[in-house]
Every structure is written in C-alpha cells, then in structure tokens.
Amino acid sequence: MDKKRKGLRFGSGFYLTLIMLFFYVPILYVVVFSFNNSKSLTSFTGFSLMWYEKMFANRTMMESIYYTVLVAVIATVVSTVVGTITAIGLSKSRRLVREVVTQINNLPVMNPDIVTAISLMLFFISINMKTGLLTLILAHITFCIPYVILSIMPKLRQLDDNVAEAALDLGATPWQALTKVIIPQIKDAILSGALIAFSMSFDDFVISFFTTGPGINNISIYVYTMYKRINPSINALSSLIILVIATVLVIVNVVPMLKNRKKREIEA
C-alpha cells in the first residue's frame, strides 16, 4: 500500500514537472539565446550583450516599447475613470437601460478580437479619420472599459443602497456620497479592473494591428512584422519584458507575504 502511494506521488510530481517544463523551457530558451554572440537560434556560441546593444540602438524597437506603455497608461486611466463612473451610474439606472448597456458592453468581450478590430478600422476610415496614435488609443479605451465595468458591477450589486441613502439624508452632497461612501467600498474592484485593463492593453495585438497607422507600432505589432526574419534582438526584448513582469509579480506576491509574517510576529 505504502509503495503504491509513493508511486502515485512520484507520478503526480513527474507530470506536474513536465507541465511546468513545457511552460518555462521556451521562456528560458529565449533568455539564454538573448546572450548569444551569434545570430544562431539553435547553437549557443558564446556570451555577449550584442543583442541588447542592438535593441537599444534600434529606434523602431524602442519606439514600439514607448508606444505600448504610453497607450496602456492612457487607456488604463481613461477606462478606469469612465468604467467606474458608468458602473455606478448603471447600478442606479432603470433595469431596461442597465440591461441594454450591459449587453452592448459585453460585445467586445464576447466577440473575437478580429471582429472588434475590423469594425473599428472600418469606422475610423469611413469617418475619414487618419489611423495612427489617436485611433489606437480610442480603440484601446473602447475594449478596456468593458473589462473595468465587468469587474466593478458585481461588487456594486453587493453594496447596501441604504448606506449611501443615509449619507444623503444626513446632509452629504451627492458628490460626497459618491467619493466618501460609494467609491471607498468598491476600491478593490476598481483596482483589479484597472489591472485587467492595463494588461489587456499592454498585450493587445489584433485590435492594435488593425487600428494603428503607419509608423505607430506597439511591441506585439513589431514582433509580428518580424515573422519572416530571424532577429535575436527580439530575444533581448522578450527577456527585458520577462524581467520586468517577473519583478512586478514577485513584488506583488512577496510583499503581502512578508507583511503577513510581520503582522504575525507582532501579534505573537
């Protein structure tokens, strides 16, 4: 019996290790080959930082990083503000209005990205708007707001309406009721909505590809245009992104853990 259990545990560990290898080997491979001293993607010929130098010297590549961050920041700020205001508004609207708006709001989430993308592209071109940075930002705001609303609405539904009513009865202005009563209660949902918006915008390829104009590329579009060529600078770029994301995620996950430990130490 004991032997059997040991075998099972070994098998389960083995399978999970395989899965993790599947996820992490490509990432490791990219990081290793970003330090290669030749153009080869198959044999590591020696250590060098040449692909990093090439990346920083490559203007198109640097610009793509800049545009990715710029668009993501603007889209996140605008969609979080508009999404929050709208979600609160909808929670106090008539049912029919709420239903209709929610259904339309769900369209970009449910539709394949490529459908949202070409619909926006057709729209921008038909109103004679030149595609470029502005259309890119408008498109990102459009597909980010639905996620913010979707993350705030369930929280709003749990709120007790009477609390805000009481604030109003006690002489608070509607603005005070909003900023001192309602928003503090949904703070976490707003934050997670903003986080989703940022990562959706940062990672987007399809919608950006169709709604941007000449010369304005984000990281995804830049990688896509490299599909025929072998360009190890992309490995350097990927490693940079991996480093940034890993750092952020470690901080986000480790800081609360350390805080908890400290709290426990203080309590003990």
């Binding site: 999970l16 990432i27 990219v30 609207s93 394949p112 490529i114 992309i234 991996i242």
Partner: protein
C-alpha cells in the same frame, strides 16, 4: 440617488459611436459589394456566395475549425490531470503552482509564441504541428485554471462520503469529481476554442506564413487586397460559427446539469 443614473450617459454615447456603429459598418460592408461610394446601398449576398462556393475558402474554414477543436481537446486531455493533481496538493503548494501557471500569461502572447521558433528549429516539424504546439502553449493555462477553480470549490465531504459508501477511487472520480468539474471544463472550452478559431498570428509566426487559417484570410482581405466587403463577410461567417458553437456548448452544459 436616481440622479446617479445620469453618470452612465457619457458611456452610452461612447458605445453608440465606438461599438454599435462600427458593428453596423461590418454588416453594411458584408452585404454590399465594392464601389458603393454613394450613399445608396445595394443589398447583396454575393460575398457570402463567393465564400461558400469556393473550395479553397471552405478548406481554410474546415482547417481552422479542425485545428481549434483538436487544440481544445488536447488542452482538456493535458490540462485536466494537471488541474486535478494540483488540487490534491496542500494549500501552500496549490497557490505556488497556480502562480507558476499564471505567470507566463502575463508575458505578451506574441513574445511567448516567438519563443518557440528557436526550439522548433531543432526539429523537423510540419507547419500544422508547430501551430498545434503554439496554440496549446498559449491556451492551456486558461483550461488548467478553469478546471482547477471548479475542482478547488468541490466539497471534499462528497468524496469522503463516496468512499465511505464503498466506491473505489476510479468510481469516486467518475461519479463524483468529474461530473462536478464539468462547468470548469465548459468555461475552459469557451476560453480556448474562441481565440483558437480566430487566431492569426500563431499560424503566421510558427507556420511561416504559408499556412492559412480563417483569421489570416480576413487579414489578407483587409490589409493586402483591400476588399473590405469580402473581408467583412468572412468575419461575419466566423462570428456566426463561434456563436453557434458557444450556444451548443452552453446547451450541452445545461442538459448535463439537468441530468
């Protein structure tokens, strides 16, 4: 409090302009033919007929559906045991493993897909196989997390009860665990199948550009050929197929829940 409802007005204007009108534009283009510069529209089904009468287009559609279905099945077959085994670990390990699985999802999808190119150069693989690997790599985490969530919610007392009543581990799994995790599988299917059907950068980045799926076809007609009418019609056909398959999946789920 009722006056707060007005806060939704700006967004109503926004969605009218940026969601409703653009969607109408696709329809308008799909049901007309090129050369409609004036505001007179001639309703036509020519674009749809052109697609359905051409064997090449039908083959592309068939390949896209086939690849998406096989990808989804592979994700279930590989992902279910993974989710199941993770759910068996102690709580701290579960947290770490789920974190490890979600971590790569934060890295840009194109960057992650591009990462496979170097590895794939070591092997002599068919374009189709490369596309499968790329899709499974990108979409498997969604499946694992959906199934894991449904398994983690599962009441452990039910399993103990089944065992106490004399069920062996296989019976417990087939009669208790599996049925209760079906909702997780269903939402996993939605999250994998939908992007797999419409994906067009995975075939392009890994298939080398010679392998065409329906997403690539839409891209070609919008970017290269500039035939927006036909491109719009293809995207409507794709959207319809996705809607129908989602509807069928949900219906199947509901039927299953009733039984």
């Amino acid at each position: 409090m009722k006056s707060f409802g007005r806060m939704a007005y700006p967004y109503m204007a926004w969605i009218t302009v940026f969601i409703v009108i653009p969607m109408i534009m696709i329809m308008l283009y799909a049901f007309t033919v090129q050369g409609n510069e004036t505001l007179i529209f001639h309703f036509t089904l020519a674009n749809f007929a052109r697609f359905l009468q051409d064997q090449t287009f039908l083959n592309v559609l068939w390949n896209s559906l086939r690849i998406a279905v096989i990808t989804t099945l592979c994700c279930i077959i590989i992902g279910y045991p993974a989710a199941f085994l993770i759910a068996q670990q102690d709580e701290r390990k579960q947290g770490i493993m789920i974190l490890l699985i979600t971590l790569p999802m934060w890295i840009n999808m194109l960057v992650r897909t591009y990462a496979w190119r170097g590895i794939m150069l070591h092997f002599d693989l068919s374009s189709e196989f490369k596309i499968f690997v790329g899709m499974i790599y990108n979409f498997l985490p969604y499946m694992i997390i959906q199934i894991y969530t449904s398994l983690a919610k599962l009441d452990k007392n039910l399993i103990t009860a089944a065992q106490d009543l004399g069920a062996n581990p296989l019976q417990t799994f087939l009669k208790v665990t599996l049925p209760l995790s079906v909702p997780g599988i269903i939402s996993g299917i939605t999250l994998v199948f939908l992007p797999a059907v419409s994906s067009f950068f995975i075939p392009k980045l890994l298939g080398g550009g010679d392998y065409v799926l329906i997403g690539n076809l839409i891209e070609t007609y919008f970017v290269t050929t500039g035939d927006w009418n036909f491109g719009s019609a293809i995207s409507l056909i794709m959207a319809a197929i996705i809607l129908i398959s989602m509807y069928l999946t949900r219906k199947l789920d509901r039927q299953y829940q009733e039984d």
